[in-house]
């Protein structure tokens, strides 16, 4: 059964900061309408999709694409300008944790307040109270005013209450991006529990690993419209490709974001594969990493140096090129070769990294002379344990003698 049906949902805002509405004044001033048309931004335009019961839908897209607006409309926080949505079942919206928390009240009092704001009845809160406190690991401090809590404690309390919200539909907005790793894992586990309990979940996230791991359907929202809808991997790849084309991989130094006019080489059909040769954009620390892609030469190329680099937050973590690894390369016009780069053990600290591929005409050539465009991809590296800090994980063992 379909729990959520969205039909041509649209939402616009007036640039001046006010939402257009029908008032007596507006009705009379038809003349001014034209001027007003120009100042309109469509946060969502004709968005339509459906979600089945028990499905986990991921919504990804750049900032400002309308993801949060969509969730707000489905949560009934704001009204659509046109179109409609049918939602079947109780809706729990987790757009932010700790909504309504008042610093003067104790943890206990805030559980009741926040729970009620989220839509729980008092009896429901009574029933779940002990579990909530335990999940948050705050039994000692539950009767202290939360203004004395650390930020971590507040987050744990807030998320804990949200975790016990028992609605048919759950709308989540990047809520999992809070807390430390241990807590995030706890939250991820709870989300999986909720999903397998048959609840319908819509999740907005910028974290591709989470989206890949937890969702069974994805929507890529861009400029208020659905750009792609499909399986998580398909949609994520499409999104990544878009981001790369728009030069929006922000973790690269600026010089890689310039356009190369008239490239002599095209790289295409990029595939990132993990240990089991499954395509993915998420890799585990120290696990196997393979990148394959095709190179098509548009003219005769006497010398080509394929460059492969990994960046994090603008810093070059590791870089290598074909001359070091396989020696000199040349291409005839229209020749197509497949490149395979395999890293046995990706010793990177968990985080988001940018993989950069480009081809230079010679070893010491400058970037402006690049034969190809700059191809950048964000990959996610995750770890099952704490690997410490920095960029690289060095396999090590410690002893106290």
């Amino acid at each position: 059964m379909k729990t959520i049906i969205v039909e041509n949902l649209s939402k616009c805002y007036r640039k001046g900061g006010y939402n257009p509405y029908q008032s007596l004044r507006d009705a009379f001033s038809g003349i001014l309408r034209k001027r007003r048309e120009e100042g309109i931004i469509w946060a969502l335009k004709d968005v339509s999709f459906e979600v089945e019961e028990g499905e986990v839908l991921g919504i990804i897209g750049p900032n400002g694409a309308g993801k949060t607006t969509l969730l707000k409309i489905l949560s009934r926080i704001t009204e659509p300008t046109s179109g409609r949505a049918i939602v079947r079942g109780r809706v729990g919206s987790l757009l932010e944790v700790g909504v309504g928390f008042h610093p003067e009240l104790t943890g206990r009092e805030n559980i009741y307040l926040n729970g009620a704001i989220l839509g729980m009845k008092k009896s429901e809160i009574d029933r779940k109270f002990d579990e909530i406190v335990e999940f948050a690991e705050l039994s000692e401090f539950i009767d202290t005013p939360i203004k004395y809590y650390s930020s971590g404690m507040r987050v744990r309390l807030a998320f804990s209450i949200s975790a016990y919200l028992d609605t048919d539909v759950v709308l989540v907005d990047e809520v999992l991006a809070v807390g430390d790793i241990a807590f995030q894992q706890k939250c991820g586990k709870k989300l999986r529990e909720v999903s397998s309990a048959g609840k319908t979940i819509i999740m907005v996230s910028h974290n591709m690993r989470v989206v890949e791991a937890l969702t069974n359907k994805c929507i890529y929202l861009k400029d208020g419209k659905i750009e792609k809808e499909g399986s998580p991997l398909e949609v994520i790849k499409h999104y990544q490709k878009d981001m790369m084309e728009r030069g929006l991989t922000k973790d690269l130094p600026v010089r890689f974001q310039t356009e190369i006019s008239q490239p002599s080489l095209i790289c295409e059909d990029f595939k990132f594969l993990n240990e089991e040769s499954v395509e993915t954009m998420s890799f585990e620390t120290n696990a196997s990493f393979t990148l394959t892609f095709n190179i098509v030469a548009l003219r005769d190329i006497p010398n080509a140096v394929i460059c492969f680099r990994i960046y994090k937050e603008g810093i070059l973590v590791s870089g290598n090129n074909s001359e070091h690894t396989i020696g000199k390369l040349s291409f005839r016009k229209n020749e197509k070769r497949r490149v395979k780069i395999k890293i046995k053990s990706l010793s990177l600290i968990p985080g988001i990294y940018t993989v950069l591929i480009f081809v230079l005409p010679s070893y010491f050539a400058s970037l402006e002379d690049s034969l190809s465009r700059f191809y950048a991809f964000n990959i996610n590296v995750y770890g099952s344990k704490n690997y410490g800090g920095g960029y690289v994980y060095l396999e090590q063992s410690w002893e106290i003698i």
């Binding site: 659509p80 409609r84 009620a116 008092k122």
Partner: protein, 289 residues
């Protein structure tokens, strides 16, 4: 034919059992929100409780402030209006007269003041979660009943001190309390929405409240108002409320049916207008607050 019935039954199932909601642009008064209030009863009580608790937490005198306010006002007015200016009070001992008038007024004015800030003050909540927004001005207005209850207790003591006897008119007390509450609610709902759109409302409030205070025969009796101004006073909905409350409790003084009638009509109109305007602005709350 049977397929049509099945479709209707299936739709009904979705609406009733699965609580299906159709989200689309709305118009007019938000009746859906009013019907939903019963599902959010607990939240309403939590808001009332939170507001009351937070208001007096960390204050020195705590809840005593609720009682002190009208008592101090009564003392000041007794000194200036009664002792110095010798304002008449329809044959009732002035302190009781004034205090009795202050009670429904406080219920009204404080409810109005708090309700008008209710939406703007809770901006952080209404942009993150859904609940019928009308609960906000509703809870702040109803919360005033707690203060009112405490003040009423003091009023009983005052009445005992001055030996005021009650009569059958006391049966009308609930009516006037409800009328005071509804006046507060009607204006509160209207102003809570106005405050979202026009932020200068909060600067207007103290001024409005003060003028309204003196336009209502709370600390003076209508006896001092010349006949040609009486009509204006009657149109003031609070006149009917205050005088009616006073009459029903103290069983003395006049009951001006015309004023009460005006009250009821104007309050009813204001509730309707308030709900309409609130519903209209409610649609954009999350966008402009």
């Amino acid at each position: 034919m049977s397929r049509k019935i099945l479709t209707i039954l299936r739709n009904l199932y979705h609406i009733v059992v699965k609580r299906e909601i159709i989200i689309k642009p709305s118009r007019g008064i938000n009746w859906r929100a009013l019907k939903e209030i019963k599902h959010y009863k607990d939240l309403l009580f939590f808001f009332i409780w939170k507001e009351f608790k937070v208001r007096y937490k960390q204050t020195l005198l705590g809840v005593a402030w609720a009682i002190l306010r009208p008592v101090i006002q009564m003392l000041i007015f007794t000194l200036i209006f009664h002792k110095f200016a010798k304002i008449p009070s329809e044959g009732i001992p002035y302190p009781v007269y004034a205090y009795c008038g202050l009670l429904p007024w406080q219920l009204f004015s404080l409810g109005l003041g708090r309700a008008s800030e209710s939406v703007v003050g809770n901006a952080s909540i209404i942009t993150k979660v859904y609940f019928p927004r009308i609960i906000l001005p509703l809870s702040y207005t109803l919360g005033g009943l707690i203060d009112f209850g405490l003040q009423f207790f003091v009023l009983i003591i005052l009445m005992l001190i001055f030996g005021i006897k009650i009569g059958l008119s006391i049966l009308f007390i609930p009516f006037f309390i409800i009328l005071a509450l509804l006046s507060s609610l009607s204006v509160g709902i209207l102003f809570s929405a106005l405050n979202v759109k026009f932020r200068d409302i909060r600067h207007l409030m103290p001024f409005l409240t003060q003028v309204w205070f003196f336009a209502t025969p709370i600390v003076y009796s209508h006896e001092i108002i010349p006949e040609k101004f009486r009509l204006i006073m009657r149109i003031n909905p609070m006149t009917g409320v205050v005088e009616g409350f006073r009459w029903s409790l103290l069983n003395k003084g006049s009951v001006d049916f015309q004023a009460i009638l005006f009250s009821v009509i104007i309050v009813s109109f204001l509730i309707f207008a308030g709900l309409l305007y609130f519903s209209k602005v409610e649609r954009e709350f999350a966008d402009i607050v």
